[in-house]
């Protein structure tokens, strides 16, 4: 048992310590293998029960590998967690994979297997890729505007200023508000006839700028993106502030003694030591922003036209509006795959930056 556990642990460590590109490659390889197996054996319940069982048992063995050397009894405590993971994570993944290869309305007792038909259709679905572009645009604004704002405020609060705890609380209020409430309030602020924004602009003499912000295709997406940043910068602020507080003050003092000015200190002390935190914030920003959804629904509903549609609203439209559950699952898998690749790319980039 111990020998087997050692071997499994060696394999596990080999993958764990691998470079991100190899990890990404391995995941892609596994997914492709799974996909090919699915296409070949989609109607064999036996094969799928076996695969499901194998994945669960593999997890079991990884756990054995970790625990066998200590006390086997400890392993028993992991079983409930494993059962929950297998039921609520692994099984739904297989189910979504199965549905994504079928044409199904979500109600009928039978489904039509269409192989890669849904994925082919996604490749040609201009509206889907338009929604991806829209989510990318909001992400770009969040990565720049939102995180620069969060960093500036975190740096301000990191200094010895009066009432800094009060500022921390104030900056963290938007993230704890309900997205629906935020969306509805800002919808009213942006209103073309009775909105606060137009009233303020008109009062300041900018009457040319007065218009219906959310119904204009030129401004709708940017308006939503700005509110998303306003709502989300508090998270970045907290994480960046925590990161800034881990930098030893002696380094700043040493830099000052060496004659470094504010910019040089920031460039040569703060930035290098904050890279892991920047990477974490960037990954969280990308994953959170690409999945923006509630704010869009409460502010524009994806309109006007398709101008504020994002991937999640498209998945919902396929599932509820068009009763195309299979297609919606395929969209979900495609979207998840893209996000996974982006995350791997970011981790790889962060390693390179750290090495530099």
């Amino acid at each position: 048992m111990a020998v087997l556990a050692d071997k499994i642990k060696k394999i596990y460590n080999f993958f764990h310590d691998a470079a991100p590109k190899w990890k990404a490659g391995a995941v892609v390889f596994l997914l492709v293998a799974l996909e090919l197996a699915f296409l070949k054996f989609h109607d064999s319940r036996f094969i799928w029960v076996t695969v499901y069982g194998l994945v669960t048992v593999s997890l079991l063995f990884v756990l054995i590998a970790n625990f066998a050397k200590r006390t086997f009894g400890m392993f028993v405590f992991i079983l409930p967690a494993l059962a929950i993971f297998a039921t609520f994570y692994i099984y739904p993944f297989f189910k979504v994979l199965q549905l994504s290869h079928n044409a199904w309305d979500g109600i009928a007792p039978t489904m039509d297997f269409i192989g890669l038909g849904n994925f082919k259709e996604i490749m040609q679905d201009k509206i889907w890729w338009g929604a991806m572009r829209n989510a990318g645009y909001i992400t770009l604004i969040a990565l720049t505007f939102q995180n620069i704002l969060a960093l500036s405020l975190a740096m301000a609060c990191d200094r010895q200023i009066k009432a800094k705890n009060m500022y921390r609380v104030i900056f963290f209020i938007p993230p704890v508000l309900s997205e629906v409430v935020v969306g509805l309030i800002w919808r009213w602020i942006y209103d073309g006839d009775y909105g606060l924004l137009n009233y303020a602009l008109a009062s300041m003499g900018f009457k040319d700028l007065v218009h219906n912000w959310l119904s204009d295709p030129k401004t709708a997406l940017t308006c939503v993106a700005i509110i998303h940043c306003w709502k989300g910068f508090g998270w970045g602020f907290m994480i960046l502030l925590a990161g800034l507080q881990t930098i030893p003050k002696e380094l700043y003092e040493a830099a000052r003694v060496d004659g470094a000015n504010v910019w040089q200190t920031f460039k040569n002390v703060t930035i290098p030591l904050m890279i892991p935190v920047f990477v974490l914030v960037a990954i969280l920003t990308i994953l959170g922003t690409m999945q923006v959804f509630v704010l869009i629904l409460s502010m524009t509903g994806g309109g006007p036209g398709y101008h504020t549609e994002v991937p999640v609203t498209r998945i919902l439209a396929s599932m509820q509006g068009s009763s195309m559950f299979g297609y919606a699952c395929a969209q979900g898998i495609t979207f998840g795959f893209i996000l996974m690749l982006v995350s791997f790319a970011q981790i790889g980039l962060s390693r390179k930056l750290k090495q530099a």
């Binding site: 044409a103 309305d105 979500g106 109600i107 009928a108 007792p109 209103d191 073309g192 006839d193 219906n212 959310l214 119904s215 204009d216 295709p217 709708a220 502010m299 524009t300 509903g301 309109g303 006007p304 036209g305 398709y306 439209a317 509820q320 509006g321 068009s322 009763s323 195309m324």
Partner: protein, 445 residues
């Protein structure tokens, strides 16, 4: 101690075995008497619905029904409608639907539920005693719940739902704002030219024209369909849905052009393309717009928002004098009986009672909706009476012989939004839809 435990265990086992035998004998005996047995005193029916405005009235009726029959009816409210819709689908997949439920969606969803065996067929019940139950209900309300011969969904002919109220979607206009703009409040526009003219006068008086929840795209679909029926007649619309007429046809381009005209002549309220209907209702109730395109449920909504609102009901303006005007309508909300429910008989009996004249009058009075029972229509308010007159012009996708494909519907509605914001021309939209329709038909969806 151990032997005591064993004895206890043996005793429990015996008790379980005996109870099982008793149950088995009870189940085997007296089968012939099943139909004549009275409803058990503690029988319970569970009803799922999404109608927040009707919850109190339902609960009151449930109490009354329990006093009358001993059958407890539990109304379970799940709102908003999106969440309700998801719950019903999930319950259907898990075969955990309640005894009675409402279904939100299109006719194809309704058909899918029937084909999956979730909904009981009620024709035989409706036909009992010389079709007494059927004859009490408005035909148009029943039609929404009916599948006729050769229906495109392959569902067996029959009635599968019970309408609890009826509705239609028309235009309403504000009489005060009409007076302010120098228009006659007793003579709303009847033709398209008169409508354009009225909006111009309202605009000149600083009043917005038409407001509606066109951010919820189905309302665009509804008005566009009304206009199309009037311009080209129902047969040509159905021919388009069957793929025999293209959306690039001149008549369809004319339909799209009307939206362009409304946008260009500033006949539409600001922000209409992203406006949800609740906001549109607020806008009309607060007298910020002179016209609204809304359903008869608005009577209750406007009453809640502005009880003093003085408004009238009108049919959408006529474009082609040679064709009739059609509006969407039929059953407002319907209840369906779960075919797998053990309390199916009780559920049907309750729905029969719920649609009787007295209960329908109570519901109409409390919820300001039009009753589904013909004989309860005499007690409705004047404004609901105006809406009720529109029932003669009612049509609905749920009783058309053919329906449009989901992707085409979405592109149709979003395309009209694009026309309103000046991004597409009517001709471009017609061509785009014709191409998409051909592609979707080729896929066989």
């Amino acid at each position: 101690m151990k032997s005591f435990g064993r004895a206890m265990a043996a005793g429990v086992r015996c008790l379980v075995a005996l109870s099982f035998c008793a149950l088995l004998m009870a189940g085997c005996g007296g089968g012939g008497e099943e139909t004549s047995a009275p409803a058990p005193k503690n029988k319970k029916i569970v009803v799922w619905h999404w109608m927040t405005d009707r919850e109190d009235a339902f609960v009151e009726l449930a109490k009354k029904y329990e006093e009358l029959t001993g059958v407890k009816v539990s109304f379970e409210l799940y709102a908003p409608s999106d969440a309700y819709s998801q719950k019903v689908r999930a319950a259907a997949q898990a075969r955990a639907l309640p005894d009675i439920f409402g279904l939100l969606g299109e006719k194809r969803d309704f058909a899918a539920f029937i084909k999956a065996g979730h909904i009981a067929e009620l024709t035989s019940e409706m036909m009992l005693d010389n079709s007494q139950w059927k004859n009490e209900l408005f035909d148009k309300a029943l039609a929404v719940n009916e599948f006729v011969k050769d229906n495109p969904y392959g569902v067996a002919v029959g009635i599968y739902g019970v309408p609890i109220d009826v509705m239609n979607i028309q235009m309403v206009y504000n009489k005060n704002l009409f007076k302010k703009a120098g228009l006659d409040p007793d003579r709303p526009p009847q033709t398209w030219a008169e409508f354009v003219d009225a909006c111009a006068k309202l605009n000149a008086a600083g009043i917005q024209g038409l407001v509606s929840g066109w951010g919820e795209v189905w309302m665009i679909d509804c008005l566009a369909s009304n206009l199309a029926f009037n311009i080209m007649g129902p047969e040509k619309v159905f021919a388009t849905l069957r793929g025999e007429v293209l959306y690039s046809d001149q008549d369809w381009v004319q339909v799209f052009s009307l939206f362009k005209e409304m946008a260009e002549k500033k006949m539409l309220a600001s922000g209409i393309v992203t406006m949800v209907n609740k906001n549109a209702e607020q806008s009309f109730a607060n007298e910020r717009a002179a016209f609204a395109f809304n359903g008869s449920w608005c009577v209750n909504v406007y009453n809640g928002m502005n009880p003093g609102l003085d408004y009238g009901v009108m049919l959408p303006p006529k474009i082609n004098p040679g064709n009739a005007v059609y509006i969407w309508g039929g059953a407002g909300s319907s209840f369906l009986v779960n075919d797998r429910s053990p309390a199916k008989r009780e559920a049907i009996a309750f729905l029969k009672w719920l649609t009787e004249k007295e209960q329908q009058e109570f519901l109409a009075e409390k919820t300001r909706n039009m009753p589904s029972n013909k004989f309860a229509a005499s007690k409705i308010s004047t404004i609901l009476g105006d809406f009720a007159r529109g029932m003669n012009y009612v049509t609905h996708p749920n009783f058309w012989p053919v329906n449009e494909l989901p992707k085409v519907i979405e592109r149709f509605d979003k395309g009209i939004q694009s026309i309103i914001i000046g991004e597409k021309t009517p001709v471009q939209l017609g061509q785009e839809l014709a191409k998409l329709k051909a592609e979707e038909m080729a896929k066989g969806r």
